[in-house]
Amino acid sequence: MAGIKVRNITFKYPDSKAPVLKNISFNVEPASWTAIIGHNGSGKSTLARLIDGLLIPTAGSIEIDGIRVSEATLGIIHQQIGFVFQNPENQFVGATVADDVAFGLENRQVLPEKMEKKINDALEMVGMLKYKDVEPINLSGGQKQRVALAGILALMPKIIILDEATSMLDPLARKEILTLLKRLRDEQGISIISITHDLDEIELADNIIVINDAQIVKQGAAADVLKNEKLLTEIGVGIPVSQRLQLLLATRGINLPNRYLNLEELKNWLSQQLQ
């Protein structure tokens, strides 16, 4: 289990004037799910890269499990964090599915005789085992995204960062993958940070960080942020179905509990009222 401490970070690309991120601070608890949401170009991906040490902040500090992210600690940081990027094509290194999953294991110097099982297990988890010897050109975008995730799962990192990593999956497959990730968080204590526009994925989070114009405009428990329909509409992710239903019920003069209810909770509440 590993937590993340981000303290006052500012980041500016060398050739730009305005910083991409300004004075960002937050904590990620071990074994929690944090969703980072915001407009395109708001700096979400940059923030994720900073956490993984792929970019070094202009000011401020980041600690992963008590280790400060810097050039000297990159090796250890990369071992703690598994990063699934947006474009699955450009992170597919291997000649076949199995080779690609093996890439991370090879970097960690896992012995060849131990790799087979790890590869099979990881591919099984994402439902890609039967595509083991397939070349990337014969896979769809969604399948490549699953393989990218398998490549991370084979390494069993303590933290998984998903940068719109389920964007090419069909709704059913996305649900499967999200259930898998939820299980991993509960059973293995993996912390998950997901950058996403997808409401289902956002609803799974324990905490939500909303970034706009290089700054955190809101952070807190998912239930609090998801209640704020004005903010959600403003950043363009839309309002969750359950929240919309609650609003509609409220306008008809029905008294609802003053907290966020997900679909399941709302259903239970409604059936209680009807009895």
Binding site: Q79, V93, A95, L105, N107, Q109, M115
Partner: protein, 267 residues
């Protein structure tokens, strides 16, 4: 599966050659290419040609498919041969005009060059048709291993090579996408003389290059995130193991070599 093959592409059928270890296939292919330069008579030429025919037969890939693979290169071969005929001198002269002449030596030379071209290209096509590219990369890595002693970064080179090969189909795909996009904007690639046609390549090449650089950068970031360190020791998932059939193939190669030199000495 389409039975049209481009030069250098893998043909997924079952054959004894497909099952051989890529290392022995690569060694045989390289040895064969070297042997071509020891051909000095009709008989030695015929001997190697027969060996090649045997390889083609064993590869279970139709001769027609090999021909389709060689066809695009045929024009280049013909031009080279024509130059040989016209611009080399020596021996009896049959015809001449200015600096051009057809001579006995020129004809013989061009014949040798024609033979070498065809045989070398076919031999390497046998290798690529029966061996997936990533296996060829593995074999190359193995063959280059001794170079580590003189500090050649063999691991980096082979990873580079296998990534390059892995992205070939991706980039071909992208090329056809860009061409379609340009066609949709009214570009006609089949119109005009050769100069206009070359000019028409520019709007394909520029986006292709820009995208490739972008890809390379993203790939490098992803590799770094997955713990790749060019200077660190890595293990290898794909392990090659020798089988008895590979020894038989090696024996076959030795027979070809002995045969060639016996013919050279005794005939």
């Amino acid at each position: 599966m389409t039975n049209k093959i481009v030069f250098g592409s893998y043909v997924p059928v079952k054959s004894i050659l497909h099952r051989l270890d890529p290392r022995i296939k690569l060694i045989m292919c390289i040895a064969f290419v070297i042997l071509i330069f020891f051909v000095n008579s009709w008989l030695t030429g015929l001997w190697l040609f027969l060996a090649l025919l045997l390889a083609i037969k064993l590869s279970n890939v139709a001769v027609k498919q090999y021909w389709q693979g060689i066809k695009p290169l045929f024009l280049i071969i013909l031009i080279t041969v024509a130059f040989q005929i016209l611009f080399s001198s020596g021996g009896k002269t049959y015809w001449h005009w200015g600096i051009m002449a057809i001579t006995y030596d020129g004809l013989i030379n061009s014949l040798i060059i024609f033979y070498r071209f065809i045989v070398i290209i076919t031999a390497s096509t046998v290798l690529t048709a029966t061996t997936p590219t990533f296996q060829i990369a593995d074999a190359l890595a193995w063959i280059m291993k001794p170079l580590k002693i003189i500090k050649v970064p063999v691991n980096q080179i082979t990873l580079m090579l296998s990534i390059a090969l892995r992205f070939v189909p991706t980039i071909m795909d992208e090329t056809s996408k860009i061409m379609k996009a340009q066609r949709a904007r009214g570009m006609n690639f089949n119109d005009g003389n050769i100069l206009t046609r070359i000019k028409h390549l520019v709007p394909i090449l520029i986006p292709l290059f820009v995208n490739s650089f972008k890809r390379a950068e993203e790939l490098a970031t992803a590799m770094e995130a997955r713990g790749y360190d060019p200077n660190a020791v890595r293990t290898h998932y794909r392990q090659l193991t020798w089988h008895s059939r590979d020894a038989w193939a090696g024996l076959g190669l030795i027979i070809v070599v002995i045969g060639l030199f016996s013919i050279r000495i005794f005939f």
